[in-house]
C-alpha cells in the first residue's frame, strides 16, 4: 500500500511495505469488528418506550466469554505482528551485510555533509569527495554509512529507502542501505534541529555504475581540501 504514496527502492523497502500491509489487514479486522459492533449496539438498543434495559453485571465468566475469546485472538495477532516487526527491524538495524563501499554522513545546523571514499575506496584519504546536501550512490551496491553530528540531534531520513536513523552527538552510528533503482529523491532531517530545520533538505542521486564512476572520476581528484571543506 505504501508504494502508492511513495515508491520504495531499497533492498528492504518491500519488507517494510509488506509489514505495513500485514498490520493493516490484522488491525483492519479488529477495527471493523469493534466499530461494527459498537454502531450496531447503538442502533439496536436505542431507547424505546416501555422497553427497559437488561441488567447484566458482566462479572461472571460466562458473560465474559466472548471478550475472553476476543482476547486470546488478539494476543495471537499481537504475536504475529511482533514477530513480523522484529524481523524487519533485525534486517534493517541489527544485521550489517558486508559493505561494497562506506560513506560518511555528517549532520550539522542545517545541512548534510556526505563524504564518499573516492577513487581509492578508502575514507580519510586525500581523494575523498565531500559534498553538501547531495549524496551520490551507485545502484545495487551495499553501502555502510557512518552517521555523526557536529552539534544537535539530527535524523538521517531517506523516505524512499524506508530508512531513518538519528545522529547523536558524541556517537558514530553505523547503518546500511542498498538501492535497487536509479533516480533522484529527497533526503530529509526528521529530528527538529533548530531554526533552519525546514531548510535541511538534501537529494540522493542513485546512479548506474557508469554514471557513478563518471561522477567519482570528475570529483575525486579535487579532494575536499580544494573545496575548502573540513570533513
Amino acid at each position: 500500500m505504501l508504494q502508492h504514496f511513495l515508491p520504495g527502492i531499497s533492498s528492504y523497502s518491500a519488507q517494510s511495505d509488506q509489514l505495513f500491509d500485514l498490520i493493516t489487514y490484522v488491525m483492519g479486522f479488529w477495527f471493523f469488528l469493534g466499530q461494527g459492533l459498537f454502531f450496531y449496539f447503538i442502533l439496536k438498543y436505542r431507547r424505546k418506550p416501555g422497553v427497559p434495559s437488561v441488567y447484566i453485571s458482566g462479572d461472571s465468566k460466562q458473560e465474559k466469554k466472548p471478550i475472553a475469546w476476543a482476547h486470546k485472538l488478539l494476543l495471537v495477532c499481537d504475536i504475529v505482528i511482533v514477530l513480523a516487526a522484529v524481523k524487519v527491524w533485525y534486517h534493517v538495524k541489527q544485521e550489517l551485510p558486508p559493505a561494497d563501499a562506506t560513506i560518511k554522513v555528517i549532520g550539522q545546523q542545517w545541512a548534510w555533509t556526505f563524504v564518499d571514499a573516492g577513487k581509492d575506496g578508502k575514507l580519510d584519504t586525500p581523494d575523498d569527495i565531500t559534498t553538501i546536501d547531495e549524496l551520490h550512490v551507485q545502484v545495487n551496491k551495499t553501502y555502510h554509512f557512518l552517521l555523526t553530528t557536529k552539534d544537535v540531534l539530527h535524523s538521517f531520513f531517506v523516505p524512499v529507502f524506508r530508512l531513518k536513523q538519528d545522529a547523536v552527538p558524541g556517537r558514530e552510528i553505523v547503518g546500511w542501505f542498498k538501492a535497487l533503482e536509479t533516480g533522484e529523491y529527497d533526503i530529509t532531517c526528521a529530528e527538529i534541529c533548530g531554526v533552519g530545520h525546514g531548510l535541511m533538505g538534501g537529494r540522493i542521486f542513485i546512479e548506474s555504475e557508469e554514471d557513478h564512476q563518471k561522477w567519482v572520476d570528475n570529483h575525486s581528484s579535487q579532494g575536499s581540501a580544494k573545496l575548502g571543506l573540513n570533513p
Binding site: 558524541g170 530529509t188 525546514g198
Partner: protein, 558 residues
C-alpha cells in the same frame, strides 16, 4: 478527618480568588485550562495556515517565520498537553468530582489544593511571558531534546528556553501537590459504607492517573533541573563533548511522557463510563475487570517508554523488547474498549449531547489505538517515526481524550456545576460540527505520513518530493477542516454563556444517575451535603429487575 468548614458568608475576593472550596478550585482549573486551550487553538491555527498557504500573512498573527513556526508547534504541544489536557481532565474534574462523588465535604488538604492552583497559574503566566521575551519563545519541540534545548547557541532563544522549562517544571510541581491530595482524600474521606468497589469509575481513574503521574514525574523534574543547569550555569549533563549524554534526557522525558498519555486518558475514560452507563441505563459491564485492566495498563505504561526512541540511537536490541511491551499494552486497552462496547449491549440508549460525545470518544479512540500498533512495531516505526503519521495517531488519541473528554464532562456535569441546563440542540450542532471536521483534519495527515512527510517543517519548498500538488491539497483540506472545527467551538461558548444566564433551572438529578454528586443540590453549597450521605451499593445499579425506577441511587437505603 476532614477540616471544619466555615459555612459563613465570604467576601467575593476571598470566595473566588483565595477559596479553599474544592468546587471553586475545580472551576478555576477548568476556566484557566479552557483559556489555555483557546491559546493552543490559536497557535495551531497560525501554523496550519502557514502549512496550507506558505508565506501568507496569517490574519491575527502575521507572517510565520522559521523560528516563529518552531515556537508555535512547540508551544501548541506544551500548552495542549500540560496546560489544557491535564488541568482540565485531572485537576478540574478531579477537584470538582472526587469529594462530591465519594460523599465528603471537601478535600483533605484544602489549602494545599489552593496552593496547587496558584502554582499552576504562575506556571501558565510564566509560559505566556516566554512567548514575548527577546528572540521569541522556545522552539525546540515540546519534548525539548538537548543539545538543542540546552544551549542558546543552538536554539537561539536564550530567554525563551529557560522560561519555558521553568514553567513546565512548576506545572509538574502543581500537579504533584494536587495528586497527593486526590489520593489521600479517596483513602480517608469516603462516605460511610463506601467500599472499594462502590467507588465511581471516574474517581478511580483520576486517582490511578494521579498515582501514575506521581510515580513518573520524579525523573522528569530531576531531568528538567539538570537541563536548566545545562542552560544557565554550564553543567554538562547532556553535553556529549564534556562526558554527558543527550539520550539521558530522552529516557527521563519519555519515562514520564508515556505514562503521561495514560494520566490524561484514564480520567476521560472514567467520565465516558459515567455518561455511557447513565444514558444507556446499564450497569458497567465487568466493573472489576475494567478496574484491573486500567491498573495493568498503568503498570505497563512504565515499561514502554523507549518506543519513542527506536531510531534515536539506543541499542537496537532494546527495540525488540519495547516492541513486545508496547504491543502488550493493546491487550488491556482493547479489554477496556470491549467492556465499553459490551456495556451498550441490551441498554436503553438515549442520544443526548453528553452521550454523543462519550460514544464519539470510543469510536475515535479506537482509531488512535489501532494506528498506534503501526508505530509500536519497531520495523514500521523506522519509516513512520517523526512523520505526520505519528501526528495523526496521537491526535486521534489526544483529541478524543482532551477535547471530546472535556465536552463530555462539561455537558454532563454542567447542571450540577452551575445549576442550569444546557441547550441540547445547540449541543448537538456543536457535536456534529466538531466531530466531522476533526476527522477531516487528521485523516489527510495519515496519508501525508505514508508519503513520508516529516514533522515540524514550516515550508516544504526545500523537499521536491513533498512539494507536490496532491500533498498540498491534503494540507489545505486539513487546514480548512481545522478552521471549521475552531468555528464550531463558538457554538459551544455561546451555548455555555447563554445557559449560564438564561438556562432552565436544573433539578438535583437531571439525568437520573446513581452517584452521590447528584444527591447534593445543584449547584452544591460550600460543604456539599446537608448531611453526609451513607452508601449502600455500587454506582451503576441501573435497570435492576423488580424495581419501579430504573435507577437506584447509592445512598438510597432500599
Amino acid at each position: 478527618m476532614s477540616h471544619s468548614n466555615e459555612h459563613h458568608h465570604e467576601s467575593f475576593f476571598k470566595k473566588y480568588l483565595f477559596s479553599t472550596d474544592h468546587k471553586i478550585i475545580g472551576m478555576q482549573y477548568l476556566f484557566t485550562g479552557m483559556f489555555m486551550g483557546l491559546i493552543g487553538g490559536f497557535l495551531v491555527y497560525a501554523f496550519r495556515m502557514q502549512l496550507a498557504f506558505p508565506g501568507i500573512s496569517v490574519p491575527g498573527f502575521g507572517v510565520v517565520t522559521e523560528s516563529g513556526y518552531n515556537a508555535l508547534v512547540t508551544n501548541h504541544g506544551a500548552v495542549m498537553i500540560f496546560w489544557f489536557a491535564m488541568p482540565v481532565l485531572i485537576a478540574a474534574f478531579g477537584n470538582y468530582l472526587i469529594p462530591l462523588m465519594i460523599g465528603c465535604d471537601d478535600m483533605v488538604f484544602p489549602r494545599l489544593n489552593r496552593l496547587s492552583y496558584q502554582i499552576f497559574l504562575l506556571s501558565a503566566i510564566i509560559l505566556i511571558i516566554s512567548f514575548f521575551v527577546k528572540n521569541g519563545g522556545f522552539g525546540g519541540a515540546w519534548t525539548a531534546y538537548p543539545p538543542l534545548s540546552a544551549k542558546a547557541e543552538y536554539n537561539l532563544t536564550p530567554m525563551g528556553a529557560p522560561l519555558w522549562l521553568i514553567a513546565v517544571a512548576l506545572e509538574f510541581v502543581a500537579f504533584l501537590i494536587g495528586g497527593i491530595n486526590f489520593i489521600t482524600t479517596l483513602m480517608n474521606s469516603r462516605a460511610k459504607g463506601m467500599k472499594m468497589y462502590d467507588i465511581p469509575m471516574v474517581v478511580w481513574m483520576i486517582v490511578i492517573a494521579s498515582i501514575l503521574f506521581m510515580a513518573s514525574v520524579g525523573p522528569l523534574i530531576a531531568g528538567a533541573a539538570m537541563l536548566l543547569f545545562d542552560q544557565l550555569i554550564g553543567t554538562a549533563f547532556y553535553d556529549a563533548a564534556k562526558g554527558g549524554d543527550p539520550l539521558l534526557w530522552q529516557h527521563l522525558f519519555w519515562f514520564f511522557g508515556h505514562p503521561e498519555v495514560y494520566v490524561v486518558l484514564l480520567p476521560t475514560m472514567g467520565m465516558v463510563v459515567e455518561v455511557m452507563t447513565t444514558f444507556s441505563r446499564k450497569k458497567l459491564f465487568g466493573y472489576k475487570t475494567f478496574l484491573y485492566s486500567t491498573f495493568f495498563t498503568g503498570i505497563l505504561s512504565f515499561v514502554v517508554w523507549a518506543h519513542h526512541q527506536f531510531v534515536a540511537g539506543i541499542d537496537p536490541r532494546m527495540a525488540n523488547i519495547f516492541t513486545v511491551t508496547t504491543l502488550l499494552i493493546s491487550v488491556p486497552i482493547a479489554e477496556i474498549c470491549f467492556l465499553m462496547i459490551a456495556t451498550l449491549y441490551g441498554g436503553s440508549i438515549e442520544l443526548k449531547t453528553p452521550m454523543l460525545f462519550a460514544l464519539a470518544f470510543v469510536a475515535e479512540f479506537i482509531i488512535g489505538g489501532v494506528t498506534g500498533i503501526y508505530l509500536g512495531s519497531s520495523g514500521m516505526d523506522i519509516y513512520f517515526h517523526d512523520t505526520y503519521f505519528v501526528v495523526a495517531h496521537f491526535h486521534y488519541t489526544f483529541v478524543p481524550i482532551a477535547i471530546i473528554g472535556l465536552f463530555t464532562g462539561i455537558y454532563y456535569w454542567f447542571p450540577k456545576m452551575f445549576g442550569k441546563m444546557m441547550c441540547d440542540t445547540l449541543g448537538k450542532i456543536h457535536f456534529w460540527g466538531t466531530i466531522i471536521s476533526f476527522n477531516f483534519i487528521f485523516i489527510p495527515l495519515f496519508f501525508l505520513g505514508m508519503a513520508g512527510e516529516h514533522r515540524r517543517i514550516y515550508n516544504y519548498q526545500n523537499f521536491p518530493d513533498l512539494n507536490t500538488v496532491g500533498l498540498f491539497d491534503l494540507r489545505k483540506l486539513a487546514t480548512v477542516s481545522l478552521l471549521v472545527m475552531l468555528a464550531f467551538q463558538a457554538v459551544f461558548f455561546y451555548n455555555f454563556i447563554r445557559s449560564l444566564i438564561k438556562g432552565e433551572k436544573a433539578p438535583a438529578n437531571p439525568w437520573k444517575a446513581n452517584t452521590l454528586e447528584w444527591q447534593a443540590p445543584s449547584p452544591p453549597p460550600h460543604g456539599n451535603f446537608a448531611e453526609l450521605p451513607e452508601v449502600y451499593r455500587g454506582p451503576y445499579e441501573f435497570g435492576v429487575p423488580g424495581r419501579d425506577q430504573d435507577y437506584w441511587p447509592q445512598n438510597q437505603p432500599n
